[in-house]
């Protein structure tokens, strides 16, 4: 029986792709209403879910608060059913911690943290199915989720993996190609400026080949950017076109202090806020926003 060839003579890979071809990417934004931002991405068979909360007050020890920037907290978790064999992963194990640290470094480079001093931004990523390129899928999902949450970013962060077989650089490796043991490189790029947010490789690769592999990964990341751009615009078209009865960020999550103001105080309300779950009995005239106002012109952001 012939061995498994990663790259055939005609230039086809195991799953029929060409050397520089990406797997099919499908993504959705705003999958969870209760989180500030969320996104789901499928890159081939790799499925990742990202959820973002923030910016909010620092949880836990206040000593960790940075006086001039926001703290970015990333957590990575891999489902027990994500690999071929069911494997129970304890929460603080080495791989999760390392991946969380890499995600944090990536997003600290992209998010404009100076705008939110003394606050915390949480990014939680969950891998539902791992078929190679998990770091890249996590970064792409987290980018969409951060965008969905409205946290200002310098640029998209698009990531892709790359490998090197038989003198050819391959882009977007699947699990079979990763398991074959060749060198693999993970690259996270900010496409508009071409700056690298994170570059990671722990294998042996001759420096003559590094340039080519890096270029293949960068080109793949730019292609991912084109796709994510389309996803964002499509999501916005859906928001504007469809009936959206859920109002924006006006719902307080828990409602411990339902505010009833007997008389209007000296503030301009301007239709900004929405009371909690109970319909307001008309007591707070300035605090109720009529449902038709979604998607209209934005009220002046102070």
């Amino acid at each position: 029986m012939a061995g498994l060839e990663l790259l055939s003579d005609q230039g086809y890979r195991v799953d029929g792709r060409r050397a520089g071809e990406l797997r099919k990417i499908q993504a959705r934004m705003g999958v969870f209403a209760q989180a500030d931002g969320s996104a789901y991405i499928e890159q081939g068979n790799t499925k990742a879910l990202a959820v973002v909360y923030g910016p909010h007050e620092i949880r836990g020890s206040r000593a960790r608060a940075l006086p001039d920037r926001a703290l970015v907290n990333c957590q990575y978790s891999s489902a027990t059913f994500s690999t071929g064999e069911r494997k129970r992963r304890p929460h603080g194990d080495r791989k999760s911690c390392e991946m969380g640290l890499q995600l944090r470094q990536t997003f600290e480079a992209a998010i404009l943290t100076q705008l939110h001093p003394r606050s915390q931004i949480d990014i939680y990523v969950q891998v539902l199915q791992a078929d190679g390129g998990t770091y890249a899928a996590c970064v792409n999902a987290a980018t969409l989720a951060v965008l969905d949450a409205g946290i200002p970013m310098r640029d998209f962060v698009c990531a892709c993996s790359a490998g090197f077989v038989d003198g050819t650089a391959l882009a977007d490796l699947s699990h079979v190609e990763e398991a074959a043991g060749g060198p693999q490189l993970a690259l996270a790029l900010l496409p508009a400026s071409g700056q690298i947010a994170l570059l990671e490789m722990d294998a042996r690769l001759h420096e003559d080949h590094l340039e080519r592999v890096l270029e293949a990964a960068a080109q793949a990341a730019r292609d991912v950017h084109t796709l994510l751009d389309r996803v964002v615009r499509q999501h916005r078209a859906e928001l504007r076109g469809g009936h959206r009865l859920v109002l924006g960020a006006g719902f307080p999550a828990a409602d411990p202090a339902h505010l009833h103001v007997g008389e209007r105080h000296g503030l301009h309300h301007g239709g900004g806020a929405v009371c909690g779950r109970r319909p307001c009995p008309g007591f707070c005239p300035g605090l109720r926003r009529p449902p038709q106002e979604v998607g209209g012109s934005a009220s002046g952001l102070a």
């Binding site: 409205g150 200002p152 640029d155 508009a192 719902f251 202090a257 503030l267 301007g270 806020a273």
Partner: protein
């Protein structure tokens, strides 16, 4: 109607620094203005000055209390030295997660009147208070707030019998049913916002 609104994504180059000045949702780099949010591009034309270029989202994102912002908060506990509050609204926007704040006794001193205000006579737990942020706080403390202005102070308060009180003067409120007076530091409401 209005010209088609341009939708931009983070990292998209909007214009030159000579053609506009950066507003909210943008950042500048190498003499150009880039977008930092996914939203609609807005150009506000000012008379004389450069137009302010900003990117606005349809759903407003979370606002953080900033120094000098007027916030609406609820008193959670009091002490002889300070009152701990939950910040609920920043300006007129509700917060999804409440922040913690502190109103200290020292900040109550009005320079004009030189009155040493007692916390117990200014707030009680459960009061809704309008305050201003004076500091984001350091490693040990939360947001520091003050009510040392005429327009700041208690807006809604309930008497010990649980009925909402009516303000009588800047330092007293009266319960309409039992007619007992209680001390509070009352916010002076602008006359045009009073419901008559």
């Amino acid at each position: 109607m209005a010209p088609p609104v341009r939708y931009c994504i983070p990292g998209e180059r909007l214009c030159n620094l000579e053609e506009g000045s950066p507003g909210s949702g943008t950042y500048t780099r190498h003499g150009y203005i880039f977008s930092s949010l996914a939203g609609c591009l807005m150009k506000s034309s000012e008379n004389g000055a450069l137009p302010v270029v900003s990117v606005v989202r349809e759903t407003e994102s979370q606002l953080l209390p900033d120094v000098g912002a007027i916030v609406t908060c609820k008193v959670s506990s009091i002490n002889s030295r300070f009152a701990k509050v939950h910040i609920l609204y920043v300006g007129s926007m509700p917060l999804k997660n409440s922040f913690r704040g502190t109103i200290r006794k020292m900040s109550e001193q009005l320079k004009k009147t030189r009155l040493l205000v007692e916390i117990y006579k200014s707030f009680r737990p459960g009061d809704i208070v309008l305050a201003k942020v004076i500091s984001l706080g350091d490693a040990q403390s939360n947001y520091l707030l003050t009510t040392a202005e005429n327009e700041l102070g208690v807006v809604v308060a309930h008497s010990e019998s649980g009925i909402q009180m009516v303000p009588i003067s800047w330092c007293e409120m009266q319960c309409p049913k039992t007619h007992t007076k209680e001390f509070r530091k009352v916010a002076r409401v602008q006359p045009e916002f009073l419901q008559t």
